[in-house]
Amino acid sequence: MNAPDANSGGAPKQQLDLSIGCVPFRLQMADAQLFRAASSRYAAFREAAVQPIHITLNEFSKSENRPAEFGYEFEGAALHASSRETRFDGVRNEYALDSLLRVLLSWKLAGRHGFLLHAATVVRGGKAYVFTGRSGAGKSTVASLSPAGTVLTDEISLLRFANGEWRAYGTPFWGEFRAMGSNTSAPVRGLFRLVQAAENRVTPLRTIEMLRALLPNVLFFSAESEANRRLLDILGQAVDSISGYALAFRKDAVFWEVLPE
């Protein structure tokens, strides 16, 4: 449902329903230009939402004094989440909206057995291959060397445990490759830490090595102890169940030949 909504005053609010990694959101905003930009940016992720997380944009609610369960500020834009409402204030453009949406999603996923990871994900043979690493490690290169339609994301992957398996989901948060992200998911075949090298080679990682590879690349913005304990539990379960590898990567398409089927 994306129809204009009645408003108590000013411009009519419009709502945009999204689903990212099966986490439903309903964004409500009065700014028509921002609505158009967001509708285009998240086109592949628009989906009728059941019991969505309601987010009001730039409404500066009357309840500003309510304590936030979680808050975050980024370049003048602010996220305020409490048990009763979620607000994004000071959102001037789609980029600020995108940033706050990533932050909110990372926080919500900790309660839904999932996390966001700086990683490109490519589906091959029905399985998700997740390639993680810092900027410049080769995530966008992996995406650009993969067949069209197989890239779930070139920048930020969403991993979530559901129905007895870890699945990787596409996200609308793109990187240099500017892959729009695919609103689909696949069971995770393996997680690969990218290392630039002169030859393509794959080496299994022990669980502790995999956690070392994961942690610096996990997107998480809460400094609250309990939230971090939940995150560490989720990551611990992920490294226990997902096969991890170091992928020495020459930045050519031949690297697929050394990956496990």
Partner: protein, 99 residues
Amino acid sequence: MNTASVLWQKNPALAWREIDNATVIISPNDSVMHELNDTGSFLWKNIDGYKSAADLAALLAENYEVAPDIALADIQSLLEEMSSRKLIAPVQAAVGESR
């Protein structure tokens, strides 16, 4: 201060988990990951706010067949390292307070 008699407690703000016989600790304020080896993990498990370096050294000596004086020196060195990383603090001082 007689450091051997000071009681030690974990920093309650931290998140931790045992993986591969190591203890992984995350400090939420700075997102830094700390790893403790076998001895460090043994020490971490036994730091409960009621034990001093001497108590912990006695446990280490008992479980790892280490001479008591060597165990105490090792434990004091580890406690100092953990304290400098703000993983633990003396019971009488608030965790995070500069010492």
